[in-house]
Amino acid sequence: MKSRALDFERYRLIACLGPGGVGKTTVSAALAVSGAWRGRAVDVMTVDPAPRLLDALGLDGNASGPRTVSLKVLRAVPGGPGRRARLRALKLDPKETFDSIVRQHAPSAAARDAILSNRIYRNLSSALAGVGDYMAMEKLLELVSQPDTDVVVLDTPPASEALDFLDAPRRLLDLLNSRAVTLLGAPAGLLRQFRLVDLAARAVLAAFDRVTGLNLLADVQAFVSGFEGMYEGFAERAKRADAILRAADTALVLVTTPETGRIAQAREFLHALQKAGLQVHAIVVNRAMPALPDAKAIAAAKLSAALKRKLRRNLADHAALKERETRSLEALSAVMPSQAQLLLSPELDHEPRSVADLGVIGANLRPAPR
């Protein structure tokens, strides 16, 4: 029953990437339960889980710290997990995480308050490009550094592009270190030393304010300069997170579903990750169709002709869907890097509601037929 799909002895970090709505959080939670089942001490960080999954993991809407998930169900199974096994779950709260980083690293109380009360920061610290992703990174560093944790499973915010998450630190750092922003407050006399493009940027940004009537630029500038002195720390941690994501004991897992559009998206993700020099270890195709029964059994059965017709029709209908799925999977297989595994996660007949359900999903993960 225990999943052999991923080698939990080998990996310290399993990071699940993928677009929204494919069940990334469910797959992350199922992998975490599998790891615990294999006797490992696992921490799983989820992003925006569905209410039932929250219940399954024993989290409530407000929990920000890690919660221990009961493994009683797993231990009841003969050959269940050993004593070291442990599962803790936490839910990422980007705003909360950002606040605590600012509190922890601000050079002074005044700098801290200036950031926390800044209009841009208050309205945007969750919406700002890449903040959710960046905070997941920060939390990741915290989790990975705990000595009593064997494996960290990381669910990432929904992405429209593959590198949204992996690129987040660079994007945020670029903003915090942005020349154009520092330019905004520069007195006109100093402007000679800047390039033409920077001047144009300044002009456009100033025009935004004029056209929009928002007076936001002063706030943006204050926001960015508030991070002066913290920038080094941010950059250093981002570098560490990046190194962890590229480490040999990290598994990047791309999650998708078998629908044609999603598979096309997964192919794009894969391509972008490879281009960025990142190795994908597995692609999990979530909610895959189960195998279909044999048509011959219908002919042999003692049933009315009408019922046999219905059975054949039902089988043919599902076979058509299965064929659609097979075609999509073939399209994905064709671009799979050689070291990566293609894993199918068969659809459950209900939403996962408990650790036992997550255990079943983990145990059912199987390599796609070649």
Binding site: V211, A297, A301, R324
Partner: protein, 294 residues
């Protein structure tokens, strides 16, 4: 019933927004000229109809159907090109990474520009008596997008942006001009999210919900007593039961949506090995008969 000229198709991820938007556009294009605006990053609806579009490109698919690919990024680009008429400079600026991050920090500006573009397209649609179908982002993002105009009103009490925001808000809340169509599948989670979305749109935003499209709704095929005879064929029985359960789920979903006052139109599950233009046409034919209901 009177359908507004602009239909904004949204729904939970995976409920078939792009498929429904494409089918709806094809169905409407048999009545009068229709523009399908694809806002999805991977241009789902456009691709289903066989259009290969780049950002901000347009393709005429038939004499009465046109697809256009819109993105927040492209709207920002053209906004900037209007502000900085010197192409050499504006283009270099747009390529500058730093600039991208700074504009991303301005709350909802890109989204707002996109809404303003949609409002302008809606104006054209009204002028030429056309339909505009929008393949919008998934519910969460879509709700944020639709809230942007109001958000702007909150932070910009005066100025050009405020005037634009007032116009956009007037457009979004005018049921004769704009309505949302929500796609939903016969699953508990999807139905619950749809009910919450419809409630938010109607009560908090005063935006018209034209109705919901219950996508992938299957026919029963079997009767409950058929299952009793399938004792020996366990796997076939399970597959038959699945079908009956899916039908029951569709009925339950429909009942729940209608109880909440939402006009609900069922779009059948297509048991086909491919999903392309032919399938979209099949769905469009079904939709055409139901447009009266929406």
């Amino acid at each position: 019933m009177h359908l507004p000229r602009v239909l904004f198709v949204t729904g939970k991820g995976g409920t078939g927004k792009s498929t429904v938007a494409a089918a709806l556009a094809v169905a409407l294009s048999h009545r009068r000229f229709t523009v399908l605006a694809d806002l999805s990053t991977h241009l789902g609806a456009a691709a289903l109809l066989g259009a290969a579009l780049g950002e901000d490109q347009t393709e005429l698919l038939s004499e009465s159907l046109e697809v256009v690919a819109l993105s927040q990024r492209a709207e920002l680009n053209s906004f900037i090109k209007r502000l900085v008429p010197l192409a050499a400079i504006s283009e270099r600026m747009l390529r500058s990474r730093t600039f991208g991050y700074v504009t991303a920090a301005l709350p909802g500006l890109e989204a707002f520009l996109l809404l303003e573009r949609l409002r302008m397209m809606a104006g054209e649609a009204a002028l030429h008596d056309r339909y505009l179908v929008i393949d919008a982002p998934a519910t969460g993002t879509a709700l944020e997008l639709l809230a942007v105009a109001n958000g702007v009103k909150g932070v910009a009490p005066v100025g050009t942006l405020r005037r634009l925001a007032d116009d956009v808000q007037e457009f979004l809340t005018n049921p004769h001009r704009f309505a949302v169509v929500i796609t939903v599948t016969p699953e508990d989670l999807s139905v619950r999210e749809t009910l919450a979305t419809a409630e938010t749109l109607k009560s908090a935003r005063r935006i018209e919900v034209a109705g919901t499209i219950l996508n992938r709704s299957t026919n029963a095929l079997f009767e409950a007593r058929d299952l009793e005879q399938l004792g020996a064929l366990e796997e076939h029985r399970a597959l038959a039961r699945k079908r009956l359960e899916e039908r029951a789920a569709a009925i339950a979903a429909r009942r729940e949506l209608e109880r909440a006052g939402l006009v609900t139109f069922e779009l059948p599950m297509l048991y086909r090995a491919a999903m392309g233009r032919r399938e979209i046409s099949a769905l469009a034919r079904v939709l055409a008969t139901g447009l009266v209901a929406l």
